[in-house]
Amino acid sequence: MQKIIISGFGGQGVLSLGKFISYSAIEQNLNTSWLPSYGPEMRGGTANCSVIYSAEDIAAPVIDHPDILIAFNEPSLDKFEGSVKAGGVIITNSDIVHKKTTRKDVKFYQVPVDTLAAAINKRGANVYMLGVLLPIFNGDISEEAAIHAVEHVFESKPKVIPSNIECLKAGIEYMKKFVK
């Protein structure tokens, strides 16, 4: 089971990264829940979503202490870093977030995901981040399941599927260097 909070500006693909994780979890026959922030909170400040996957039934869809925080902007890091479980993971989009976490008891990864994805697909940053997450998920979700999820989400836009799958694979390769 992983409890994940994804947070950033509206338009950074925060909610859709969450959907990619949930779709991948379904492809892997896991239970999943995706809970978005909604309403005026989405404008200006931070948009966020709480995503859980688990082999068991999922009780609360709300997350007080995430295993993983993905911060696409600085306000998101400020808002959520204190809540991450000890021993958990914080990932920032280091193209936008320049500071580091103040937490000493978590694994911290700075991924310049916009730059890395842009070499393949300018709009592929969130799928690239999905790839980054797979090694952290430690085999819970296979590359095949994630590929199926990407194919499913882009069903109506088949042209963009190959470059998104390329982003996914590049994200996995990138993160494998850090996560054994």
């Binding site: 949930s22 809970l35 909604y38």
Partner: protein, 351 residues
């Protein structure tokens, strides 16, 4: 196969699968995905979607469609549901089957748009005037929303009564895997020719009316309605018990809050504290017997009612417990959601 569904859209598709072909509504957050979905989906299956000029208009369109024997529904959120109450009272009095969805937001007044459960009294005690109750379901997952919506139209037809399904902004907006049951063959829906105002088919007049001016006639009708509610209570009362068999602390909660209680129970049990949950699935009729029988258990130390309100369902819990055990309350309001850790702390520290 299971697909990822947003709560609101899952309800909409489940209604279509159940044979609902007519929807009347007016936009309000956080339930807008229901009308949005049905606005394109219903025409696809030969039905009709109407965005009315107001909630009052929408509920009266529903009254008309139900009176004509159609499978029809409306949906709204708290302030919009308040506007519909006159119509719901009329529909109950005219004994018409229909489905009303309330994705609750915080109140009173226009309030906020974040999740809340402050409409419990309104939903269960008859939010409009006069002696009546709708049947009220409170699902707690997207799959349960689907299954209950799919069955709600049949329950409404069986008793010729309005059925309300209540959720909150969290359940409406979240996504979970769910499976939609097969499309109902419309030919298998109940025949309503006996009473529905569906045309001059056999020269016999059908009257859909809620005016009963003679006191004796109206009293007889009130007795008839409440006999029906007794029958509904006997047949339709539903609740889930979660780890109650050895529980010393019993949470009572419905909808999304019940799930937060379950997470708290897992944590409490990991710390050696025996907690359990009674989750009403029907809020009217209320699972009074299930709670009353737990109140008689020596093991049970107390009940803790947990709601996203200032405390409404707690009154029904107290009535069921009937003084046998303490009944305490933990609530958040204004659109705030309690966390499992808050409930763990409450049980351990009593605050």
């Amino acid at each position: 196969m299971k697909k990822l569904w947003k709560g609101n859209e899952a309800i909409a598709e489940a209604a279509v699968a159940a044979g609902c072909r007519y929807f009347f509504g007016y936009p309000i957050t956080p339930q807008n995905e229901i009308p949005e979905y049905l606005s394109w989906r219903l025409p696809e299956v030969g039905g009709a979607f109407i965005q009315a000029e107001s909630e009052v208009s929408a509920i009266n369109m529903l009254y008309g469609a139900a009176g004509a024997g159609a499978r029809a529904m409306t949906s709204s959120s708290s302030p919009g549901i308040s506007l519909k109450q006159e119509g719901i009272s009329y529909i109950a009095a005219a004994e018409l089957p229909c489905v009303i969805v309330n994705m609750m937001r915080s109140g009173p007044g226009l309030g906020g748009i974040q999740p809340a459960q402050g409409d419990y009294f309104q939903a269960t005690k008859g939010g409009g005037h006069g002696d009546y109750h709708p049947i009220v379901f409170a699902p707690s997952s997207i799959q349960e929303f689907v299954d209950i919506t799919y069955g709600a139209f049949d329950v409404a037809d069986k008793y010729r009564t309005p059925v309300m399904i209540i959720g909150d902004g969290m359940l409406g907006q979240m996504m979970e895997p769910a499976e939609i049951p097969p499309m109902r063959d419309l030919k298998t829906l109940p025949d309503k020719n006996e009473w529905a105002a569906c045309g001059h088919s056999d020269g016999r007049p059908r009257i859909i009316n809620s005016l009963r001016i003679e006191p004796d006639e109206l009293e007889a009708f009130n007795n008839h309605l409440f006999k029906k509610y007794e029958e509904i209570t006997k047949n339709e009362t539903r609740c889930e018990e979660y780890l109650t068999s050895d529980a010393e602390y019993i949470f009572v909660a419905y909808g999304s809050v019940a799930r937060i209680c379950k997470a708290a129970i897992v944590e409490l049990r990991a710390q050696g504290i025996k907690a359990g949950l009674i989750r009403p699935i029907t809020l009217y009729p209320y699972p009074t017997d299930a709670i009353a029988s737990k109140a008689k258990c020596d093991k049970v130390k107390k009940f803790i009612t947990v709601e996203m309100s200032m405390g409404q369902m707690i009154e029904d819990v107290r009535l069921a417990v009937n003084g046998l055990k303490p009944v305490e309350f933990y609530g958040r309001s204004g659109g705030n959601v309690m966390m499992p850790a808050d409930l763990v702390k409450y049980v351990k520290e009593g605050k």
